[in-house]
Amino acid sequence: MSEEKAYALEIENLKVEYHVDKEVVHALNGISFKLAKGETIGLVGETGAGKTTTGLSVLRLIPSPPGVVSGTIKVQGEDIGTLSEKQMESIRGNVVSMIFQDPMTSLNPTKTVENQIAEVIRLHEKCGKKESVEKARTMLEMVGIPGDRGVEFPHQFSGGMKQRVVIAMALACSPEILIADEPTTALDVTIQAQVLDMIRDLKKQYNMSMIMITHDLGIVAEICDTVAIVYAGQIVEYGTLEDIFNSTAHPYTVGLFGSLPNMDDRTQRLKPIPGLMPDPTKLPQGCTFCPRCPHATEKCRTERPTLVNIGGEHQVACHLFKEG
Amino acid sequence: MENSDFRQRSMFAETWKRLKKNKGAMIGLVIVVILFLLALFAGVIFDYDTDVIGQNYNELLQEPSWKHPFGTDEMGRDLLARIIYGSRASLFISFAAVCLAAVVGCFFGAISGYFGGAVDSIIMRVTDMLLAIPETLFAITLVAALGTSTFTLIIALAISNIPIFCRLLRSSVMTQRGSEHIEAARAIGAKTSTIIMDHILPNCIAPVLVQFTLSIAVTILTISGLSFLGLGVAPPKPEWGALLSSSRSYMREHTYLTIFPGLAIMTTILSLNLLGDGLRDALDPRLR
C-alpha cells in the first residue's frame, strides 16, 4: 500500500436493493474493491450471491425502479453516479464492456452478426456504415470466425461461436475494463478452454483490466490476479491468488474448496457446505454465513463482521480472524 | 395418487390466490356471476308473457323512469326485462356451443398431439380449413342454408370454435408428451389411456379454461352480430343484437333503446375478457 496505483475501477460501499411487492431484496450489501490497470479480479460465489448485479452496476444497468443503488463507482477516477444518461451511453461498450453468461440469448436474432458488432463500433467511433462492417469482420477473424460468415444470423451459429461473437462485440471498441460474467458456463467443456484461452490472450493484447465473474475456482486459478469471494451480496474474503489458494481463511472459502473433488486422494469424500444461501429478503442480523458455518459462535449470530486485514492485501470478514 | 391430488389442489389454491389480487379479474368475475344469476332467476323478477313479449300500447317508447328503468320499446315492452331475458339466449347458446366445441376439439386435439403421424396431419389439415373461414362467416353460411334456429346457431358456432381447442390441446399434449414425468410414467408401464387421463389432461386444464372464457366472449359477440343482421335469434324472442337492430328506426329520438342493449353486451364481454386475462396471468405468472 505504499505507492498510489492507477486504478481502472474503484467500487466503494456498493449497495443494491430491489423493492418488489412490499419486500426488499438485498442484492448487494456494501461491496468495495479496487481494480488496478491491466489486472484481473475474480468475483467468486454461488448463484445469486450478487456477482452479476455487481457487473451490471458498473454499467449502471440496474433497472430502476425496482432497483435502488447506493455507494460510489469510479471508472478511471470518474464517478459514474454523477454522469448523465448520454455520458453513460458513451462509456458502455466503449470504456466498459460486458460479456454475458448465456451466448444463446445474448444476441439479437433479427440482426446479422456483423451488423451487431458494427453497431457498437459506429456508436463509439466516428465511421461510416461500410467501414464499421469491415472492422466488424476483422473482429470476427480475430476471434476465429471467418469474416464472410458475418452476414449470417445468430441462429446459424453454434454456442461457442456465438460466445466468440459476443466477445468480439465486447472488444470491438478496445475497452479499458472488460466484465466477463461466467463467459464459459453455458459452453461445452472443450469449447470452454478455447474461449478462456482466447479471452486471456486478448486481454493481454489490449492491456485491459478485467472482472471475471465465475463460480469455477479452476478458472480463477488460471486467469485472475486477485480474488474476491462473494457471499450474500458481500465480499467475505479478498486477496491475491496465493492468499486465497494457499492461506484460505474464511470458512465459506474453505467450504468452496472442500466442495471440489481431490484428484490426489480420490477416497476422500466431498465436503459440501450444508444448507442454502440466506433469503436476500430476510438476511440474518449477524454474519450472513453463520447458519451454515461449522465455527459459528454467539457473536457471529448477533454482530456482522467487517473486512479486516490479515496480512498483505489479504482481507477477511469473519470473527475468527483478528487484524494483523 | 393422493400426492398428485394434493398437488392439483394446491395449484388451484395458488391460482385463486393470485387471481384474487387482480382487481380487474375480480370485478369481471363478480359481474359474470351476477349476470348468471339474473339470467337464471329472470323468471322470478319478470313475467315472460306480460313483460317481455306482451305488447302494451299505453306505454309506447317511454323514456327511462322508475317504473321502466331502461324505458320501453316501440311496442311498450320493458327494455330492462327484455335485456335480462336476452342474456338467456346469448348465454345459453354460447355456453352450449363452446362446451360442445371444447369437448370435440380437445378430443381430437389430444389424439392428434399424442399419436402424431398421419392422424395428426389429417386432423390438422381439417382444422386449417375450418380456420380459413372466419367464425361469423361460417355461421352466416350455415344459417343461410338451414334457416335461423337455436340449434343451427349452436352447431355453427361450435364448429367454428373446434379448431382453436383442437390446436390448443394438441400443442400442450405435444409438450407434455416429451416431458420427463410422462417418460417416467411410461417407464413404469402405465397404460396409454392412464397416461392421457391421469398425467396429460390435468396439465392441459389451465389453457383450456382460459380459452373457454375468451371463446364464450367472442361467441356472444358473434351471436349478437348475427341477430343484428336478422340471422340469429328471431323476434319476438329478445336477444341483445336483435334489440339493437330494431332500435335503429328509433335511434334519433330514443337513444336509450340503442344505448342500453349495447352496454349490456359490452359489460358482459368486458367482464369475460377481464376474467380470462386474469386467469391467464394467474395460471402463468411468468407472462405478466
Partner: protein
C-alpha cells in the same frame, strides 16, 4: 424467397379448395329447388325436371362442385335465380367498395395500434399504459355494430360532422365506417403488440444492446420492435382476415354498397348463387391475407428466411 412464396401459394390451394367445398356443400343443403324457384309455381313437373337436367342439378354434388370451381376459374359465378343476372357482375361491381373499406380500416388500426402498444409496453404500469389498455379492452369487448351506431349517433346525428350512411367516394363518408370496422382489430393488435414488447424487453439481447451503449430510444426502435413484430404480425394478419367478416356487419350498419351487404340481402331474398359467391370471395380473400402474412413473416424473421435460401 421466391421458393418460399411458391411453397406457401401451393399450400394455399388445397385449403381454398377445401373451404369452397365445405361452403358449397353447406349451401346445397338449402331447402327449395332452384329450378322451381326460377320457373315459378305454375311450371309443370316436366318443365322443372328439364331445367334441372339442363342446370346439371341431377349430377352428384362433387361433379356440381367441380363444375362450379371450373367456371369460377373462368370468372363465372353462375346466374342469380331470381333476376337471372350474372352473379359475377353483381359481385365485381361491389367488390372494390369492400376492399376500399377493409384497406382503410386496416390502415387505421395498424397505424394506431402499433405505437399504442409499443409506448404502453415501454411505459409499463404508468397512466398511459393503463389508459391505453383500458381503451383496448373496451375495443375488443365492444360489438362492431353498436360502436358504429354510437358513432353515427354522436358524429353524424348530433354533431353532423359526417354523413349518416357511408359514402363510397368521399373521405368524409369512409371515416366512420372504417373506424367502426377497425376499432376492434386495433384494440386486439395493440394488446398483442404490448405483450410481445414486454416479453422482448426482458430478453438478454436487449441488455446486450444497452451494454453496448445503444441509447434507450434505439434499443426500443432498433432492437426490441423488430423482434416484437414477429408474433404481432400473425395477429395483424388474423385480425385483417377477421375484418373481412366484420365488413358484413359494418356494411349493413352504414348501408355501404359492398359484398358484405350484398351477402346479407341475398340471404334474405334466398338468392343462393350470390350468397355462395360472396362467401367464397370472402374465404379466398381471407386465405390471401394469410398468405401475405406468411410472406411478411419471412421478411422479419431471419430464422424462416434462411430455411429457403
Amino acid at each position: 424467397m421466391l421458393k418460399y412464396i411458391g411453397k406457401r401459394l401451393l399450400a394455399m390451394i388445397p385449403v381454398v379448395l377445401g373451404v369452397t367445398l365445405i361452403v358449397y356443400c353447406i349451401m346445397s343443403l338449402a331447402p327449395g329447388d332452384p329450378a322451381r324457384t326460377i320457373l315459378g309455381e305454375q311450371a309443370s313437373v316436366e318443365q322443372v325436371e328439364a331445367l334441372r337436367e339442363e342446370m346439371g342439378l341431377n349430377d352428384p354434388i362433387i361433379v356440381q362442385y367441380l363444375r362450379y370451381i371450373w367456371n369460377l376459374l373462368h370468372g363465372d359465378f353462375g346466374t342469380s335465380y331470381q333476376s337471372r343476372i350474372d352473379v359475377s357482375t353483381e359481385i365485381w361491381s361491389r367488390f372494390p367498395n369492400t376492399i376500399k373499406l377493409a384497406l382503410v380500416a386496416s390502415l387505421i388500426s395498424v397505424v394506431l395500434a402499433l405505437p399504442l402498444g409499443i409506448i404502453a409496453a415501454v411505459k409499463q404500469n404508468t397512466f398511459f399504459d393503463s389508459f391505453s389498455m383500458f381503451i383496448a379492452i373496451i375495443g375488443i369487448s365492444c360489438p362492431t355494430f353498436w360502436f358504429g351506431l354510437i358513432l353515427i349517433l354522436v358524429f353524424a346525428v348530433n354533431l353532423k360532422w359526417f354523413p349518416v350512411s357511408g359514402q363510397v367516394n368521399t373521405l368524409k363518408g369512409i371515416i366512420l365506417p372504417a373506424l367502426t370496422l377497425g376499432f376492434n382489430s386495433m384494440a386486439a393488435m395493440a394488446r398483442v403488440t404490448r405483450s410481445s414488447m414486454l416479453e422482448v424487453i426482458r430478453q438478454d439481447y436487449i441488455r446486450t444492446a444497452r451494454a453496448k451503449g445503444v441509447s434507450n430510444r434505439n434499443v426500443i426502435l432498433q432492437h426490441a420492435v423488430p423482434n416484437a413484430m414477429i408474433p404481432t404480425v400473425t395477429v395483424i394478419g388474423l385480425r385483417i382476415g377477421g375484418l373481412l367478416a366484420g365488413a358484413v356487419i359494418c356494411e349493413t350498419v352504414f348501408a355501404w354498397p359492398g359484398i358484405g351487404r350484398l351477402l346479407v340481402q341475398s340471404i334474405q331474398s334466398r338468392n343462393t348463387p350470390v350468397v355462395l359467391g360472396c362467401i367464397i370471395i370472402f374465404s379466398i380473400c381471407f386465405s390471401l391475407v394469410n398468405l401475405i402474412v406468411d410472406v411478411l413473416y419471412a421478411f422479419i424473421d431471419p430464422r424462416i428466411k434462411s430455411q429457403y435460401q
